[in-house]
Symmetry: C2
Subunit: 235 residues, 2 copies
């Protein structure tokens, strides 16, 4: 069994659009024997690996997410059966991707792996909105953060302190962020950008003020990213 172990590539799929994966990621995908993918990975992206056995491990309608321990096991099992296995994750694998748990499982099983980074949503959203995350003399620090990452985990206690804030998996949690920022003295006129379905055909970009965030979010139904800070001001 040890001799037949394949190699695993953790690949960042990027924000959604099939051509926002890296050249390296696309090349490896096209050679993969099996691909374990999140629900966020689009059909267009999976068209890059028509030869591969597809193993969906993300949340699907009416079902809970595949538990992380099961994903780890599926990954190790796939590497036992195949030469080249891809673990394809939305965004970047090392940011909000629970990579640590999957890498640990691979290491414990003695399976070789490599990580190929992906475009994280904050950067794709800034490109879509045409608003930079940093600006000379205005903003030189950017926080990428989430609120609770798992059911049962306590809500975030203190917000990050950075010139620009980018909240992943924003939605309802971003309303709490807005309230806390206003309490901490941030101006209600602080520019906010909300990007829904980033980089996809049904992408929407909303330009708001901090005080309007709650109303703005009510219009969104897809996954949203919330960007807050003076760097995002209209030119």
């Amino acid at each position: 069994m040890a001799d037949s172990k394949g190699k695993v590539y953790l690949i960042g799929a990027g924000p959604g659009a099939a051509d926002l994966i890296t050249v390296r990621g696309a090349r490896i995908l096209a050679q993969a024997d099996a691909v374990l993918h999140d629900a966020l990975v689009t059909a267009d992206m999976l068209a890059l690996c028509p030869q591969a056995e597809l193993i969906p491990v993300g949340k699907r309608s009416g079902q809970r997410s595949t538990a992380q321990a099961l994903i780890n096991q599926l990954l190790v099992d796939a590497a036992g059966r195949h030469r080249l296995v891809v673990r394809l994750k939305g965004g970047d694998p090392m940011l909000f991707g629970r990579a640590d748990e999957e890498l640990r499982a691979l290491e414990d099983a003695g399976i070789a792996y490599e990580i190929i980074p992906g475009i994280t949503a904050a950067l794709a959203a800034a490109a879509s909105a045409r608003r930079p995350l940093t600006r000379r003399g205005v903003a030189r620090s950017v926080a990428l953060f989430t609120s609770a990452t798992a059911p049962g985990e306590p809500d975030i206690v203190t917000l990050p302190h950075c010139d620009t804030l980018v909240q992943y998996m924003g939605g309802r949690e971003a309303m709490v962020t807005a309230r806390k920022l206003l309490e901490r003295g941030q101006s209600p006129d602080t520019p906010v950008v909300v990007v829904e379905n980033c980089s996809l055909a049904d992408e929407h970009v909303f330009q708001l003020r901090l005080a309007e965030l709650e109303t703005g979010l009510a219009a969104c139904s897809g996954p949203v990213l919330v960007l807050i800070g003076e760097a995002l001001a209209a030119r």
Copy 2:
């Protein structure tokens, strides 16, 4: 003249390796009539656009960086002469890329543009080091920051507050960061990863403790990225 104006693509080249650009970025590069590129963009990357007129606008040995106002002008001029112009920037254009100034110049000149994001060094460094930037129950916020961004600007006054800190253009400035973090009560055992020449053939990854950062940086001569936080602990 107005009718002959071309379109400009601001493209993120990513951390350095030629195949860590996006598929979309590589496709546009291969069609470009002219490419204005930073000094950080490698010869391997420029081999993706052998047809294009190359206009270097980065810092070169013995010379100061091309002033931003001149870059803006060169960009506008190139769009007057060519159908498809690429502004190729190391990393991602919207993060520490002074995109705001270039976009403003294009808008003032009535030139159409599009932005294609790139892999930022923090993510490529995490992939190389095999250490995630976030970890469930340990780290859910990441600060990407720089110290002074231009000669004459005051040094950063307060460090960002996030679980994981990533200092761009680290070098000497990261030693100041380390001192400030120790003063603010951060453990001297906090894991630190230093990545030099990220994603290139001469890449080096150093795993240190916060207390060792100063000694560790002395060994680096190329561009370094400094990552600090418990998420980076060895597995």
